[in-house]
């Protein structure tokens, strides 16, 4: 944070536009580079969440699936906070009994 940012906050001013420009660019370039439309990304996000939700209980409000770009490489980044594993009997349990 810079002195300028603090002053902006104190005076209730809009933050400087360069930050907004950088963020908007990074987002639009991630889409341009991956050739994924926002609709497709949203569809993929839903399907990923459904798959993950089969195994663990996830915090949907704080979950996020997005595209991030660094050094001309675009990555799909999923941040899905896990509340707790689902208490379903799984193959793991069976294996434990066999091992024992």
């Amino acid at each position: 944070m810079t002195l300028r940012d603090i002053l902006d906050k104190l005076l209730g001013r809009q933050p400087a536009s360069a930050t907004t420009a950088r963020e908007r660019l990074q987002l639009v370039l991630a889409h341009d580079r991956s050739d994924l439309s926002p609709e497709l990304l949203e569809q993929m996000r839903k399907e990923i969440l459904e798959v993950v939700a089969k195994y663990v209980e996830i915090d949907l409000d704080h979950g996020d699936v997005s595209l991030e770009t660094e050094d001309r490489v675009t990555a799909l980044v999923a941040n899905l906070p896990i509340r707790r594993p689902l208490a379903i009997p799984t193959r793991n349990n069976d294996q434990e009994t066999v091992d024992a």
Binding site: M1, T2, L3, T19, L25
Partner: protein, 271 residues
């Protein structure tokens, strides 16, 4: 053939960011530094390089006539009177829009490489056929952009296309930098642009009213060894291109007065 001949595409994606101005000034600067240079206007639909160089009344033939063998290359090359190391070759005539193909571009460039140290290709805006033709003969490229979201986005598309074509190295020129706006964080910072595009920075050109004055006259800024900020920047780009280590200007240090100092204090990271 000049053994070290370099063919450099100058492109941007977006129009109006300074491709042709860079080509003209870089051409003059390289010629002044002793390099035999030809600037090839690949934007034959809307050609303007002749106008910026003040050569608009001296064009008789173009690359089309050379390829059709209705004239010799020497007849089509327009030599600059004040800077004899520089020649201009228009790729074509605005009336023959569909004529040029990538193979044509390759054959004309290989002719030019035989007698010039530097072949600079002024690329048309866009990423369609005009760009593809111009890029067909290029080994390396300079992408020019301004610190604006639309220009940077379009530059990114072009860089992607150059990468898939195997053009290398691709270097960046950041044009029309306004130090005051950058200091106030109302313009993308130099690092923002280089980080996003992930290209080495070949040069920074400050916004300079003299560019318009020189365009009016048809005398590129670098022609008279001019001392304006943009003229110095173009000359430095020409030196860096030849491998000389010329430090980049720091836009934040452009202002020396009290106001500039306060501005720098305001943008210092404190926590």
């Amino acid at each position: 053939m000049a053994p070290t001949s370099r063919t450099i595409l100058i492109c941007s994606g977006k129009g109006g960011v300074g491709k042709t101005t860079l080509t003209a000034n870089l051409g003059i600067a390289l010629a002044r530094q002793g390099q035999k240079t030809v600037v090839l206007d690949a934007d034959f639909g809307l050609r303007n390089l002749d106008l910026l160089l003040g050569l608009e009344n001296r064009i008789v033939y173009t690359a089309q006539e050379v390829l059709a063998q209705t004239c010799r290359l020497e007849q089509a090359l327009v030599r600059h009177k004040q800077e004899p190391n520089l020649a201009l070759l228009p790729a074509g005539n605005p009336r023959m829009l569909e004529w040029l193909k990538p193979e044509d571009m390759q054959s004309i460039v290989s002719m030019l490489q035989k007698q010039f140290d530097y072949v600079l290709i002024d690329c048309p805006a866009g990423i369609e056929d005009g760009f593809k033709n111009a890029a067909a003969a290029a080994r390396e490229a300079i992408v020019i952009t301004t610190p604006e979201v639309s220009a940077v986005r379009d530059a990114d598309r072009v860089i992607g296309l150059l990468n898939t074509r195997g053009v290398s190295p691709v270097q960046l020129v950041l044009n029309r930098v306004r130090p005051k706006m950058m200091a106030n964080q109302e313009m993308l910072a130099v690092d923002d642009v280089t980080d996003i595009l992930a290209l080495p920075l070949l040069g920074l050109v400050l916004e300079d009213e003299q560019v318009i004055v020189s365009t009016n006259r048809g005398e590129p800024l670098t022609l008279n060894g001019g001392g304006s900020p943009a003229a110095r920047a173009y000359a430095n780009i020409a030196r860096r291109l030849q491998g000389e280590d010329v430090p980049l200007i720091d836009p934040a240090k452009e202002g020396r007065g009290l106001r500039a100092k306060v501005r720098r204090l305001m943008q210092k990271k404190i926590f």
